[in-house]
C-alpha cells in the first residue's frame, strides 16, 4: 500500500545479485538446467542404446576413440555423454522437488513448534531427535525397499528424511524472532496468530529458508547419487549419475573415464548449489550484513 523505494527485501536481492558466489553458482545452474531440459536434442545418442562392438572406448581426444562417442562408452557400449546428459535430468528433478518438499514440511513444522512452543514444540523436537538418530542413507534404503524404485519415490524418501534439517535450524530462528517486541506489538495491534506468523515471523525467516533450500538441493543430488549407486533409486532403464558410477566401478582400472565424468558432474552441481547457498546467506542474513556495515562505520 505504501510507496516502496528500497524495501529491505529488494536491497537484499540487489546485494545477492552482486555477490560473486551467487553469480557463479547461478550461471552453472542455469547451464545445467538448460542441458537437462534440452537433453533429447543435445544428446548425440540414445542413452540406453548398446553397441557391444565399441565398449569401453576412451574420450575423443585419446587414441582409439570413436567420433560417435565424444566421452567414450561403458562396458555395454553405451554413450557416456548421452547418459551424463540424461542423468542431469534426474539429478535436477530430484534436487528441486525433494528440497522444496523438505522445505515446505520442515518449515511449517518449525513455525508451529517455534511460535506456539509448549507441547507442540516438545513433540516436534523429540520427533527430530528420534529421526536424526537413524543414519540417513540406511533410513532412505529402508524407505525405498518399502516404496519400490522410481524417481518420485526417491523424492519422497528425501523429503521424509531431510525435513529435520529445516525444522532444526528454522525452529531456533523462530524462537529468536518470537521474543522480539514487534511480535507482541502485532498481537496488541489485534493481529491473529496466523496473521502474525504470516506477516511478522515468515518474512524474518525467509532468507535463512532460501539459503537452506539451496544447500539442501546439493545434498539431494548427493543422496540421489548414493541411492542409485546402490541400485535403490531409479528404474533400471533410466540413466542417473549414481548408476553411471556403479556401472563403471568394475572397470575403473582399465577405463577410469567412466567414473571420472559422473563424479565431476556431481561435484560441479553440488558446488554450484553450495555457492548459491553461502552467497545468499551472506547477502540475505541481516545480522551478517549489519555486522559488516558496523565494522566500516
Amino acid at each position: 500500500m505504501m510507496p516502496t523505494p528500497a524495501t529491505p527485501l529488494r536491497q537484499a536481492a540487489r546485494r545477492a545479485a552482486r555477490d560473486p558466489a551467487v553469480v557463479a553458482g547461478t550461471i552453472l545452474l542455469t547451464l545445467l538446467a538448460v542441458v537437462a531440459l534440452l537433453a533429447p536434442w543435445l544428446a548425440p545418442n540414445d542413452p540406453q542404446a548398446q553397441d557391444l562392438l565399441s565398449t569401453l572406448l576412451p574420450p575423443r581426444w585419446l587414441s582409439g576413440s570413436d567420433a560417435r562417442f565424444p566421452l567414450g562408452t561403458d562396458t555395454l557400449g553405451r554413450c557416456t555423454l548421452s547418459r551424463l546428459i540424461f542423468g542431469g535430468r534426474v539429478a535436477i528433478h530430484v534436487a528441486v522437488l525433494a528440497a522444496t518438499g523438505a522445505m515446505l514440511l520442515g518449515t511449517t513444522l518449525a513455525l508451529v513448534a517455534g511460535y506456539f512452543g509448549g507441547i507442540v514444540d516438545r513433540l516436534v523436537s523429540r520427533c527430530i531427535d528420534v529421526w536424526m538418530s537413524f543414519p540417513p542413507v540406511v533410513l532412505a534404503m529402508i524407505l525405498l525397499v518399502g516404496l519400490g524404485a522410481g524417481v518420485n519415490k526417491v523424492v519422497l524418501a528425501i523429503v521424509l528424511i531431510d525435513w529435520t534439517r529445516f525444522t532444526r535450524v528454522i525452529r531456533s530462528e523462530v524462537l529468536i524472532v518470537r521474543r522480539r517486541d514487534y511480535i507482541t506489538a502485532a498481537r496488541l495491534a489485534g493481529a491473529s496468530h496466523i496473521q502474525v506468523l504470516w506477516r511478522e515471523v515468515l518474512p524474518a525467516i525467509l532468507p535463512l529458508t532460501i539459503t537452506l533450500l539451496s544447500i539442501e538441493m546439493g545434498i539431494a543430488v548427493i543422496v540421489e547419487a548414493i541411492l542409485s549407486f546402490v541400485g535403490l533409486s531409479v528404474e533400471p532403464d533410466v540413466a542417473a549419475w549414481g548408476v553411471l558410477i556403479a556401472d563403471a566401478r568394475q572397470t575403473m582400472h582399465q577405463s577410469p573415464w567412466g567414473i571420472l565424468f559422473p563424479v565431476t558432474a556431481i561435484f560441479v552441481t553440488v558446488l554450484a548449489f553450495n555457492l548459491v547457498g553461502t552467497g545468499l546467506r551472506r547477502s540475505l542474513d541481516a545480522r551478517l550484513v549489519t555486522a559488516r556495515v558496523d565494522a566500516t562505520a
Binding site: P8, Y182, A189, A191, A204
Partner: protein, 608 residues
C-alpha cells in the same frame, strides 16, 4: 600534567570521504585531578579512550595532534611502549562490568593474572588480591576469590574491576560510563567509590559519562563534546551552573530536575549528526540544531575562547544570546472524584517455574505482590522502581500479556483480569503498550507507514489502502515526524524517530490508556526531552491517560501527577508528586531520592 592532549583529530573513511570523527580536542589532566567528559551517544566521548588503548574501529586513525603522557606521545608510540603502559600506568574501568570479566574464571584467577602482569611474585599475589578487594569494600574478599563473575551482582563486579584498575597504583585511570549499566542506588555508591579510590591513590581520572549532573559532582573539571567537537571545558561547578555554549545550555535545559519549579524541557530539534553527516558540516557542527544560530554559523568554526580562568568555549560572542523561554508545566491534576478508567485491585503474580526431572518445583517467585492502583482519565501515573521491582510485570499484567494469579483488573467497569477473546478485544480497543526498546519493537522489514497503521491491518478489509495512508500521515504529524518518513524502514531512523513511530503505532486505534514501559530509558537526554514533551502534548490534546513505568525519579516528577513506588514486588509508597518528593515516607523512596545527583552542586553527594 599527566595527560596533555593538543589538537587531537581522528579521521575515518566513511562512504568514500574522509570524515573528522574527533576535531581539535584540547585538554590536560593534572596529577590527582578528575576530568569529566560529557556527551550524548555519538559525540565521540568513548573514542578518546579507544585511541589511547588503540582499540578504535578499523580505519580510524589520529590524523593530527598529540596525546602526550609523561613525555610520550601515545598517538604515535610503538606497540611495545604502549603495552608496557596500558594496564599498569594507565588503566581502564569498563561500562559493562559483567561482560568485562570472563565467566569461566574465578575472581581469584582474574586478580592473579593481573598481578602476574605487574610482576608481583606468586607468593605475594593472594595477599595483594585480598588487600585490593578489601580496599573497594567488598565483604569477605578471601571467599570472593573463589567465586565466579556470574555469582556477583553488577555492582560487585564493578567493584572488582575498580580494584583491578587501581591495583598497580596507576597514574591515569579512564572510566568509560562506569555506572550506566547499574541500578540507580548502586550508581551513587560506585561513583563515590571511584572518587574515593582516585583521591587515595592521587590518580588522574578521566570520567566519561552522558550525565552532565553526575560529571559535575564527580569531576573537578568538565569537558563537553558534541559531534566530535569540544564545545566547552571548565571548572565543573561553573560549567553546570553557568554554561556558556548553546549546546551545554540546551543540554542543561533538557534535564528534568528533582527540585524547584517544573519548567518545560528544552527539546532540541532532530538529533546529533552521525559520522556520514559530519562531512556535510564544515562549520559549527551544532549549528543545524542551535536555537541561537545565525547565517554565518554553518560556514565557520569558532576558536576556543577563554571566557574566565580555565573556562573555554568554542563559540562566538553572538552565541551568548538568550535561549528560548521555557514555560512552566501545568501538571493537570485530575480530581480524585473522577471515575477511574482502570482499577487494579490487590493483584499478585507468582511464577511457579517448571518441575525438574524428579518432579520437584523450584521455590515460587512473587514478582508482583498485592498491588493496587487507579488510573483516571487524562492522568499520567508514574510507576517507579529498580530492576526486579516488578514494575514491568505489572505493566504486562495490565496489558494482558500475563495473567494475574490473584486480584482483579477492571477497565471502565468491565472485569478484564482473565484473558479470553472477549477481554482481549475490550483491552485492545482501549489500551496500547509502548515498548522500551524501539529497536526490537519495530519489524525491520516493514515500512514506517505500514508499522503505524498495524492496528488497522489486523481488521482486514475494513480499511482501504487510501484510508491507511491518510491515517499514517495523521499519525506521523501527531508524533512530530516529517511525512517523507512514511516509506522509510526502521534501520534508516534515529533512536528518537523510532520511539516516535513506536508511539504512533500505539495511537493508531486512538486508545484511552497508554502503557509506557521505560520508553525513555535508552534515549539520550535531548531525545528524551523530545519524547517527554510529546507525551505531555498528547495528554493535553487527547486527554490520554498514561501508566508511565520508569526508574528515573526526575523524569517521573516532570510528567506525572501521581506516582507509586515499587520495591520487591510491592507498592511501598504512593501519592501526589509534590507530597512524595517533599516528604518521602518509605526508606527505599528516600534512598532513591538520595541516589540521584542533586541539581545543587553545593550539596554533598552522595550523602554520607
Amino acid at each position: 600534567m599527566i595527560l596533555s592532549v593538543r589538537g587531537l583529530t581522528v579521521s575515518a573513511p566513511i562512504d568514500g570521504q574522509t570524515v573528522e570523527i574527533l576535531r581539535d580536542i584540547d585538554f590536560d589532566i593534572g596529577a590527582g585531578r578528575v576530568l569529566g567528559l560529557v556527551g550524548e551517544s555519538g559525540a565521540g566521548k568513548s573514542m578518546i579512550g579507544h585511541i589511547i588503548a588503540r582499540t578504535q574501529p578499523a580505519g580510524f586513525a589520529v590524523s593530527r595532534g598529540s596525546l602526550v603522557y609523561d613525555g610520550c606521545d601515545l598517538a604515535h608510540a610503538d606497540a611495545r611502549t604502549l603495552r608496557a603502559l596500558l594496564g599498569d600506568r594507565i588503566t581502564f574501568i569498563p561500562q559493562e562490568p559483567l561482560s568485562a570479566l570472563n565467566p569461566l574464571r574465578s575472581i581469584g584467577v582474574h586478580c592473579d593474572e593481573h598481578l602476574a602482569r605487574l610482576d608481583v611474585p606468586r607468593s605475594d599475589r593472594r595477599r595483594r588480591s585480598v588487600a585490593a578487594l578489601s580496599k573497594v569494600r567488598l565483604a569477605d574478599p578471601e571467599r570472593l576469590l573463589d567465586r565466579y563473575p556470574f555469582e556477583l551482582s553488577g555492582g560487585m563486579s564493578q567493584r572488582v574491576l575498580i580494584a583491578l584498575a587501581f591495583a598497580s597504583n596507576p597514574a591515569l585511570v579512564i572510566a568509560d560510563e562506569p555506572t550506566t549499566a547499574l541500578d540507580v542506588s548502586t550508581q551513587a555508591t560506585i561513583a563515590n567509590l571511584i572518587r574515593r579510590m582516585q583521591r587515595d591513590h592521587g590518580t588522574a581520572l578521566l570520567f566519561i559519562t552522558h550525565d552532565l549532573r553526575l560529571a559535575a559532582h564527580v569531576a573537578d573539571d568538565v569537558m563537553v563534546l558534541y559531534a566530535g567537537e569540544l564545545v566547552e571545558r571548565g571548572p565543573a561547578r561553573r560549567v553546570l551552573e553557568t554554561p556558556q555554549h548553546p549546546y551545554t545550555r540546551a543540554l542543561k535545559a533538557a534535564i528534568p530536575s528533582l527540585r524547584g519549579p517544573i519548567r518545560r524541557l528544552l527539546a532540541l530539534p532532530e538529533h546529533m549528526p552521525g559520522p556520514a553527516q559530519l562531512a556535510r558540516l564544515p562549520g559549527c557542527r551544532f549549528a543545524p540544531r542551535c536555537p541561537v544560530r545565525d547565517a554565518t554559523c554553518a560556514g565557520a568554526i569558532s576558536a576556543l575562547r577563554e571566557i574566565a580562568p580555565r573556562h573555554v568555549v568554542r563559540a562566538k560572542q553572538a552565541c551568548e544570546a538568550t535561549m528560548p523561554e521555557r514555560p512552566p508545566v501545568d501538571r493537570m491534576t485530575v480530581s480524585a472524584a473522577a471515575a477511574p478508567l482502570l482499577t487494579v485491585h490487590s493483584v499478585s503474580k507468582t511464577y511457579n517455574g517448571t518441575r525438574d526431572w524428579r518432579g520437584r518445583l523450584p521455590p515460587p517467585v512473587e514478582a508482583v505482590k498485592k498491588v493496587s492502583l487507579t488510573l483516571r482519565p487524562g492522568e499520567i501515573l508514574g510507576v517507579v522502581g529498580e530492576s526486579g521491582s516488578g514494575k514491568s510485570t505489572l505493566a504486562r499484567l495490565v496489558m494482558g500479556l500475563e495473567t494475574a494469579t490473584q486480584g482483579s483488573i477492571t477497565l471502565e467497569g468491565e472485569d478484564i483480569t482473565r484473558t479470553s477473546a472477549r477481554t482481549r478485544s475490550i483491552r485492545l480497543a482501549a489500551m496500547q503498550l509502548v515498548f522500551q526498546d524501539p529497536q526490537s519493537a519495530l519489524n525491520p522489514r516493514r515500512s514506517v507507514g505500514s508499522i503505524v497503521t498495524q492496528g488497522m491491518e489486523a481488521q482486514g478489509s475494513r480499511f482501504t489502502p487510501e484510508q491507511r495512508l491518510a491515517r499514517a500521515r495523521e499519525l506521523l504529524a501527531e508524533t512530530g515526524l516529517p511525512p517523507d518518513l512514511l516509506a522509510r524502514y526502521p534501520s534508516q531512523l534515529s533512536g528518537g524517530q523510532k520511539q516516535r513511530v513506536n508511539i504512533g503505532r500505539a495511537l493508531c486505534i486512538t486508545p484511552r490508556i497508554m502503557i509506557a514501559d521505560e520508553i525513555v530509558s535508552g534515549l539520550d537526554v535531548s531525545v528524551q526531552a523530545q519524547i517527554l514533551n510529546l507525551l505531555l502534548d498528547l495528554r493535553e490534546r487527547r486527554g490520554i491517560a498514561v501508566l508511565f513505568v520508569s526508574h528515573d525519579l526526575a523524569v517521573v516528577r516532570y510528567i506525572c501527577s501521581r506516582l507509586i513506588v515499587m520495591w520487591r514486588g510491592e507498592v511501598v509508597e504512593s501519592g501526589e508528586i509534590e507530597a512524595v518528593f517533599a516528604s518521602p515516607q518509605h526508606p527505599f523512596t528516600r534512598e532513591l531520592l538520595a541516589a540521584a545527583p542533586p541539581d545543587d552542586l553545593g550539596a554533598p553527594w552522595p550523602r554520607p
